[in-house]
């Protein structure tokens, strides 16, 4: 498989990652940058999940008559569960820090948040 033919899921995942990174690189409001980070994380999670997908197979829950050979790779799904929770935790932390920052600086503009430099 060459680059132009990668799956739509990969494409979507990469797009999310890049959009998120774009927000981090361009947006002046630090909250938007943080949202960019979250979008990136989502993209990464989508990527992980996509890697574990196997065409024509079902969720790796072996009930309702699903046999082991009919299931997709369970590992990436387990990983994504963990990654999502970690993402939530990171987001909670970033938002709290932004709240504290705003309280002290009265701004969320990155160009004004630079008392620590040099």
């Amino acid at each position: 498989m060459s680059v132009p033919n990668i799956s739509a899921f990969y494409f979507g995942a990469i797009s999310l990652i890049l959009i998120g990174l774009y927000a981090v690189l361009v947006k002046k409001n630090i909250l938007k940058m943080l949202i960019g980070l979250s979008i990136m994380e989502t993209g990464v999670n989508l990527l992980l999940i996509s890697i574990g997908y196997i065409s024509g197979k079902s969720a790796p829950i072996l009930s309702e008559g699903i046999e082991p050979n009919q299931a997709v790779d369970p590992i990436p799904q387990a990983l994504v569960l963990t990654a999502i929770v970690i993402g939530v935790a990171t987001t909670a932390m970033t938002l709290s820090a932004a709240i504290v920052l705003y309280k002290h600086y009265g701004t969320l503009n990155v160009e004004e948040i630079r008392r620590l430099r040099g």
Partner: protein, 495 residues
């Protein structure tokens, strides 16, 4: 006790942290004492593990859940991990003592939990044998670090923390992409098995995956130009935490980078990655030393110094030779001691005199002689003066660097070291030969720690043999991948 009890290294700090809410009401002093006790026990366990590993010469493989790798996650406590987990525990213990003097901001119970979990995170990063588990522990470490950086709740602290979060977030995301690629290519997450299969991975996948993983870890390992968060975080964090950052948090990232790098050494583009890392590491040293040169804030200055030293370690690891890795490990240990000493000293001065600006250090020799003495010894050691520990590791690194053919890197690093010598010189001069002051009484436990660390610095400086042999063992633990694979009892799934 069998080796599986080494899992207490993980279980204890967790239990310790989870227990804090239940004793929240007992007051500041009780909670600080509690942290001290937990870290002391952790040090005991780590010492036991160290003794086990070094006396038997075999790594302890902790198999979580009883599943053999690669089915389950295993901890690989080899020579390196045993050593470094011990260092993590000791450093945490010392800083737990420092907490009594340095931490006054509320809420102390949260601080205590985060403190223990920072220790946990670094321990896990060093011990784990699973690449995704590494990610988890890395996140534990870095999220704790984010929280602790902002703990003082000043605007600057929040600013530093946010910077750290944004850069760390990008780093960890790309790290995870790398893990995804490597998983997609090998179908496993176990480090030993990945090492086994690394040679067969599609070269493009391997190149992208390895580059991304190294990139992600390099953010944590403070490599230039990914380290811009570091000085701010070091400056803003509570003093004991800064010491922990420098003493082991960054080292955990660095180690992880080295470990994965060497595990993947059969990948085709490996040497290119190494070259890139050599460039980055050298630039890290140079830029950091120059940045430290004119700092007015001593804590920030030492932060830059720490970054440069870490760059030196990274350089050693990036050489791709046994000599380099050994030297890097040696430097890691020495640097941990020195920076614990320096940040402890500087932090204590900041606590006592109300800030870490250079003006506060004028006449320190008269005000707080023991602390001043400790800082001086730390500074001199950092510069690489003989009879102090860093001399040996720096010498080793330079020799290894030139030996590996990177004479230019050695040139640049040493040129930067001249700069380092100058700013430490200024500090020492300010402490002993400028300003006046009345004697302030110094806390006995802190003085004891300072003196103990000074003795350690000099003892290693005079008699580096033991630590060097330990470093060599730890170094070959990283470098000798074949042995690593052999040591992990892979059950042969998919093979």
């Amino acid at each position: 006790m069998n080796g599986q009890y080494a899992s207490l290294l993980i279980a204890l700090p967790l239990l310790g942290a989870f227990f804090v809410p239940l004793i929240k009401g007992l007051g500041k002093k009780a909670i600080k004492t509690y942290v001290l006790i937990i870290t002391a026990i952790q040090t005991g366990i780590a010492a036991w593990v160290f003794q086990q590993v070094y006396s038997t010469g075999k790594p302890i493989i902790v198999m979580a859940g009883g599943w053999r790798p690669p089915i389950g996650i295993n901890l690989y406590i080899g020579h390196f991990a045993a050593l470094f987990v011990l260092i993590v525990a000791i450093a945490s213990f010392l800083m737990a003592v420092f907490n009594f003097k340095a931490i006054d901001v509320e809420p102390i119970d949260k601080y205590a939990m985060l403190f223990l979990l920072l220790m946990l995170g670094a321990t896990g990063m060093i011990a784990t044998g699973d690449i995704f588990n590494l990610f988890v522990f890395m996140e534990i470490t870095s999220i704790t670090a984010y929280a602790l950086t902002a703990y003082n709740k000043t605007g600057e602290a929040a600013e530093a923390s946010l910077k750290y979060m944004i850069l760390g977030g990008i780093g960890s995301s790309f790290f995870l992409i790398g893990v995804a690629l490597i998983y997609g290519a090998t179908g496993t997450l176990n480090m030993a098995q990945i090492a086994q299969l690394a040679g067969n991975i599609d070269p493009t996948v391997a190149q992208v995956g390895l580059a991304l993983i190294v990139f992600g870890l390099a953010v944590e390992a403070e490599l230039f130009p990914l380290n811009a968060w570091a000085p701010d975080a070091y400056q803003a964090a509570p003093h004991p935490i800064t010491a922990m950052f420098s003493a082991f948090v960054v080292k955990a990232g660095l180690y992880a980078m080295a470990r994965i790098l060497y595990l993947m050494s059969s990948v085709g583009t490996w040497h290119n990655v190494l070259k890139l890392l050599v460039v980055m590491a050298t630039l890290t040293v140079v830029v950091a030393e120059f940045s430290a040169l004119r700092q007015r804030n001593v804590k920030r200055m030492i932060a830059y110094s720490s970054i440069s030293q870490v760059g030196l370690i990274a350089l050693a690891f990036a050489l791709g030779t046994q000599a380099g890795v050994d030297a890097g490990v040696f430097q890691m240990i020495n640097h941990a001691i020195i920076k614990a000493l320096l940040f402890l000293g500087v932090g204590y001065v900041a606590v006592q005199l109300g800030g870490a600006d250079i003006e506060n250090f004028h006449g320190l020799g008269r005000k707080m002689p023991v602390t001043a003495f400790g800082i001086t010894v730390g500074a001199m050691a950092a510069v690489g003066i003989p009879l102090f520990n860093i001399f040996w590791s720096k010498l080793r690194i330079i020799l290894a660097t030139v030996e590996a053919g990177y004479t230019w890197a050695a040139f640049l690093v040493l040129a930067a070291s001249v700069v380092e010598a100058v700013y430490y010189f200024r500090l020492i001069h300010a402490i002993w030969f400028e300003g006046e002051g009345e004697r302030i009484s110094e806390s006995i436990p802190l003085v004891a720690i300072v003196v103990a660390l000074v003795i350690l610095v000099v003892a290693i400086g005079i008699y580096p043999n033991y630590l060097w042999s330990v470093s060599q063992k730890a170094g070959s633990d990283i470098f000798n991948v074949a042995q690593y694979i052999k040591n992990v009892p892979l059950m042969g799934v998919g093979a």
